[in-house]
C-alpha cells in the first residue's frame, strides 16, 4: 500500500532545483567575495605591506563565476517554468524562486556594466587606460 505522504504527486523538477541551487551558490560567492574585497583584503594588504594585493587577482577571476552562474540559472529557471507549465508536473514555486533569484543577480550585473559605460562616457572615455600606457 502506498503511503499518501510519499506519493509522486509532489514531484520536483530537476531543472528548477538546479536553477535554485545555482542561484544560492552564486549569491553566496558574490557576498563572500564582496566581504573579502572590501574588508579582509585591504587589511591583509596593509598588514603585509602590499604583498596581500596579489590576492586581488585571485578574487577577480573567481568573481566572474557569479554572473556566469546567474546567467545559467536564469535560463534553467525559465526552461523549468515552461516545462512545468506544459506538463503540470512539479512545483512551479521552486522554478519561480530560482528564476527570480538568478534574474535579480543578472539584472544587477547588467546595471553595473551600464553604470561603468555611462561613467566612461561621462568622463570622456577610459582615460585610466591611457595613463597606464603613457604615464605622465
Amino acid at each position: 500500500m502506498q503511503n499518501p505522504q510519499f506519493s509522486t504527486a509532489g514531484k520536483t523538477n530537476g531543472l528548477a532545483v538546479t536553477s535554485l541551487v545555482i542561484g544560492i551558490i552564486s549569491w553566496l560567492l558574490f557576498i563572500v567575495l564582496l566581504c573579502l574585497n572590501y574588508v579582509i583584503l585591504p587589511l591583509l594588504t596593509v598588514a603585509t605591506m602590499g604583498l596581500g594585493a596579489i590576492f586581488y587577482i585571485c578574487t577577480l577571476s573567481v568573481g566572474c563565476l557569479s554572473p556566469l552562474g546567474w546567467l545559467i540559472g536564469t535560463i534553467l529557471g525559465y526552461v523549468a517554468k515552461n516545462q512545468i507549465k506544459q506538463t503540470s508536473d512539479g512545483n512551479p514555486g521552486m522554478a519561480n524562486a530560482g528564476f527570480i533569484m538568478n534574474a535579480t543577480g543578472l539584472g544587477l550585473t547588467i546595471l553595473g556594466i551600464c553604470g561603468i559605460v555611462v561613467y566612461a562616457i561621462a568622463v570622456g572615455g577610459f582615460g585610466f587606460l591611457d595613463q597606464l600606457q603613457y604615464p605622465r
Binding site: 509532489g10 549569491w27 524562486a97
Partner: protein
Amino acid sequence: MTNEQQPISGVPGKFTALTYMTLASGIVNIISGLTLTGLVIIGTIGIGVLCAPITILPTILGVFEIVYAVKLMSNPPQPVRPSQTLAIFEICCIIFAGVIPVVVGILALVFYNDPEVQAYFNRINASS
C-alpha cells in the same frame, strides 16, 4: 441569526509555518533596513542620507510582511489571497544580503503551490 464567522478547523502545518516565517522575516527586515540606513548615514557623516530611499526599502517591505502575517494569523481567519508579489520581493532582498527573507521567500513560493495550502486558502476565501 448571527453574522459571526466560525473558526475554520484544521489549519495545515505549512500554513502556520508560513505565517510565523513571514512575521519573523518582517521583523528582521525592519531591523536590518533601519540599521543599514543608520550606519550609512552615520558612516558618511550625513551624506549617506542620499542613499536612504534605497536602504530603507527592506523596512517598507518588512511593514507589509507584518501586515500580511497578521492577516494570516487572524482568528477567525480573514479572506486573504496567497501573495506571490511579497514572496518575490522577499527573494529580491538578497541585494541587501538578507539571508532570512530570501529563505522565507523561496519557501513561501513553494508552499503556495502545495495542494494542502491551496485548499486551505480556497476554504478561507470561500467562507467569507
